[in-house]
């Protein structure tokens, strides 16, 4: 009905006040962004490894709901899978989460600091089990990795490359992993997560030497952590998956291996951290708190604005404007605050993400999806505040203006 931009005028009439209003919303938006960032980092970091798997399907122990759980399965299962029609190749992947303790030995022994936990990944260098270019055929690192004792270090690891506690991780540096010497011959991009400070890729042979032989009797690589399966060109993944499940379940009611796509594996990992640990809840709650704080801030702003203009709003009612129109003005104010606060909050959060990612080594990703979600949350926060503030407006008695 009305074209006069009343909502905008009411909000921006006093520029300083408007800036304070927006600042309030920015605070809430940044709070939510940070919580969402940490929550996202939790999910992203826990699936960094999965994301790099070069597989159409994977085999994993059903008891291994998270990568950090040391649940393996027999390598024979992988061989079994290779016989299923449609399967082109299978490769074992070994993952150690907790036993890979890195201790830098290059510096002054007197100044050495406590060791740190590293996720060690053992692969056949020629298997292309991981997607990074450093592990593709022909890459220098592939050949170097074949030499026992060589390792590729995680260049996204916390503090890399200027690790003050352990010294700089330069190529060729020799260091110590779980008491066994290793040499860094290259880097790969992973990043730290909530269970390890970074990752290290070694060959299966080196992996066996470092983490299996000292602790395992018999055949050190008889049990594997993850089986990478790649299908023949044109093979239907769903069909092969069904066939694999059927084959691997033969003779038992409770198969000791799950057949999953990489996406399913990631979802399982993220689901575990979200639902089975307090970390997921903590950040979810943090986000909710950000939302609640924002709700209160927005409500204070909007109800204050309504209170300031109560006489004028009552006048508008008296001259023939409906409650619907007045509600629209308040909602418009909410939306203006939401958009202004969101845009500024997004800019601030972007900067903070960069800083936090640098400091924590966690993947603080400002994805489009998260930006959209948070925009919706911001709009919802402001609109809900507006709706609450509106109650007073609707109850305003136009007779009061006389």
């Amino acid at each position: 009905m009305a074209k006069t931009p009343l909502a905008w005028a009411n909000l921006t009439h006093d520029r300083f006040r408007f800036a304070l209003f927006v600042l309030g919303v920015v605070f809430a938006v940044v709070l939510m962004f940070i919580q969402l960032g940490f929550r996202g980092a939790l999910l992203d970091s826990q699936s960094l490894f999965h994301d790099k798997l070069n597989a159409d399907l994977v085999l994993i122990s059903p008891n291994r709901q998270a990568l950090a759980m040391p649940e393996t399965f027999s390598r024979r299962r992988l061989e079994q899978a290779s016989a299923v029609p449609g399967v082109a190749e299978v490769h074992p992947v070994f993952v150690s989460n907790g036993m890979g303790v890195l201790r830098h030995t290059a510096g002054n022994a007197a100044e050495r600091k406590p060791s740190r936990g590293i996720r060690v990944i053992g692969i056949d260098p020629d298997s292309r089990a991981l997607t990074m270019p450093e592990l593709q055929p022909g890459a220098r690192e592939v050949e170097l990795l074949k030499i026992p004792g060589n390792a590729l270090f995680d260049r996204k690891s916390v503090g890399f490359p200027d690790e003050t506690e352990f010294g700089p991780y330069k190529l060729g540096v020799r260091t110590e992993l779980s008491g066994v010497a290793v040499t860094f011959v290259g880097t790969v991009p992973f990043g730290g997560d909530f269970t390890s400070d970074g990752a290290m890729v070694v060959s299966t042979e080196t992996f066996a030497n470092l983490l299996r032989r000292p602790y395992t009797f018999g055949t050190p690589l008889a049990n594997i952590d993850i089986g990478v399966i790649r299908l023949e060109a044109g093979a239907d993944r769903r069909t092969v998956k069904t066939a694999l499940k059927r084959e691997l379940a033969r003779g038992t009611e409770m198969p000791d291996v799950d057949v999953l796509t990489v996406d399913e594996l990631m979802a399982r990992e993220q689901g575990f951290w979200l639902n089975n640990t307090p970390i997921g809840f903590a950040f979810g709650f943090g986000m909710f708190m950000g939302f609640a704080v924002g709700l209160v801030i927005c409500y204070q702003i909007l109800s204050g604005d309504v209170a300031d203009h109560l006489g004028e709003y009552a006048t508008l009612k008296a001259v023939g404007y409906s409650n619907f129109y007045l509600a629209r003005v308040v909602i418009q104010e909410s939306l203006i605050l939401a958009v202004a606060g969101y845009v500024a909050g997004l800019a601030v959060s972007y900067g903070l993400y960069l800083v936090l990612a640098q400091v924590s080594g966690l993947p603080m990703n400002l994805t489009l999806e998260r930006c959209l979600w948070l925009f919706l949350a911001t709009v919802l926060m402001c609109v809900v505040s507006g709706l609450i503030a509106m109650v007073r407006l609707v109850r305003t008695d136009p007779a009061d203006v006389f």
Partner: protein, 433 residues
């Protein structure tokens, strides 16, 4: 804006019947309005007077649809629909629609601080979208009200009077057929107050140019000293008051407006105790004064008699059948005999003052009835027989539909018994006949 029409000829724009209102509940229940009736005709400037707490504002808020009606009924003519809107039992949406029929001028002008003067007025205009030249119209009315240099100022940059003028412009921009105003000129200087009242009057009905001319400052006069309109303001009036029939109900103590009222409604303790149409009051008082009988009594006594006769309707308008408070007015159709020669005087005999229409006076001196004279509005008849207690000496017959105010014989007797000058005057006038 949609075209707005006036109610059918002779019908009121506003009708209030049996309106009561109560504030609070239980022990705190307080009745503030008691059985109020009022009819206001299109184009009237109505002043609501009365002491503080007499219910003026409450009745204004009920008329304006700002409060829900508890008992009684209020009908407002909806010019856009061409029918009356009853406020009885209206829901919030209905009340909103009614409010749009009305222009409100509040004492606390309640302009939006964040909007410029033009935008504040535009807010009201936008209730009726589709206008072709809204900005120009707003500019015109603000210029007329002396705000041409401050149109784009926000309220904080305007004085109290200037803000009030913006509020007046906001109320009148849609040319409502009903304006409700609470002390609209209280904060205004003389010129602005006059400009507002003159605009309301010109929106009400066509005024003679000579009347307007009297209000215009002479060349060389300082407007801020004389309080008169400028020539430019006067020239803008025809363009601004391009619709007629606007009725204004104004609560005010401003004598400048009081003197220009068409109707004065006085309230006391929640009740309308007097409802005087100024033109009718003057009409009846003057009519009575022409009669020697009433000319001889004190003016305040004559005024009291006149007030007793008034029906609250301009004599220019006919009385509608069933209209309340018209017991003292009789209507006769053309050819009907009002008084017959030779009829004896009884306690029920009356004195007549013609309100509307024409009568012929016939006397039969034995050679058949002959017309002696024709009488019209403000003429009277029937006085002599009542005073001298003799049979009627002429027949009075309506030439056309005629309305007459009537005074009972008891009124005559009252002055006959108490007023020595009255008796002497009567003897002088009628004694020798």
């Amino acid at each position: 804006m949609a075209e707005s029409t006036l109610p059918p000829a002779g019908e009121p724009l506003l009708r209030i019947r049996g309106v009561n209102h109560v504030f609070g509940t239980g022990d705190a229940k307080t009745q503030v309005l008691f059985d109020n009736d009022l009819e206001v005709m299109p184009g009237e400037l109505v002043i609501m007077s009365g002491p503080s707490g007499s219910g003026k504002t409450t009745i204004l808020t009920l008329i304006g649809g700002l409060r829900s009606l508890q008992s009684g009924d209020i009908d407002i003519w909806d010019g856009r629909r061409g029918e009356y809107r009853s406020l009885k039992g209206l829901d919030e949406n209905g009340l909103v629609e009614v409010r749009r029929l009305i222009g409100f001028i509040f004492q606390r002008h309640n302009l939006f601080d964040s909007l410029q003067a033009t935008q504040n007025v535009m807010m009201a205009r936008e209730l009726f979208p589709g206008g072709t030249d809204d900005a120009a119209d707003i500019k015109k009315i603000l210029t007329y009200l002396g705000l041409s240099a401050r149109m784009h100022y926000k309220p904080a940059e305007l004085s109290g009077g200037q803000r009030q003028r913006v509020a007046v412009a906001r109320a009148l921009i849609n040319r409502p057929k009903l304006v409700l105003a609470d002390e609209p000129t209280a904060a205004l200087d003389a010129n602005s107050g006059l400009a507002v009242v003159t605009l309301l009057q010109h929106l009400a009905r066509e005024r003679p140019f000579a009347d307007l001319e009297k209000l215009i400052a002479k060349p060389g006069d300082r407007v801020d000293e004389t309080g008169r309109l400028t020539r430019e303001q006067a020239d803008m009036l025809p363009d601004l008051a391009n619709e007629r029939g606007t009725t204004s109900l104004i609560v005010t103590h401003d004598a400048r407006i009081m003197n220009r009222a068409d109707r004065i409604v006085h309230m006391e303790r929640g009740k309308i105790v007097s409802n005087v149409v100024v033109a009718e009051r003057l009409f009846v008082a003057e009519g009575l004064r022409r009669c020697a009988v009433f000319a001889s009594i004190l003016p305040e006594e004559r005024q009291a008699i006149a007030d007793g006769l008034c029906v609250g309707l301009s004599p220019a308008l006919p009385i509608r059948p069933g209209m309340k408070g018209t017991e003292n007015v009789l209507t006769f159709e053309a050819g009907e005999t009002i008084v017959r020669q030779g009829d004896a005087v009884t306690d029920d005999s009356l004195f007549y003052l013609i309100r509307r229409g024409k009568v012929r006076v016939l006397r039969d001196a034995g050679d058949g009835p002959k017309t002696i004279v024709e009488l019209g509005p403000q003429d009277f008849f029937g006085d002599r027989a009542l005073l001298v207690n003799e049979p009627r000496n002429a027949t009075i017959q309506a030439i056309e539909t005629t309305e007459v105010y009537t005074v009972g014989r008891s009124t005559f007797r009252k002055y006959e018994a108490t007023s020595r000058p009255f008796i002497e005057r009567i003897a002088a006038v009628y004694g020798q006949t």
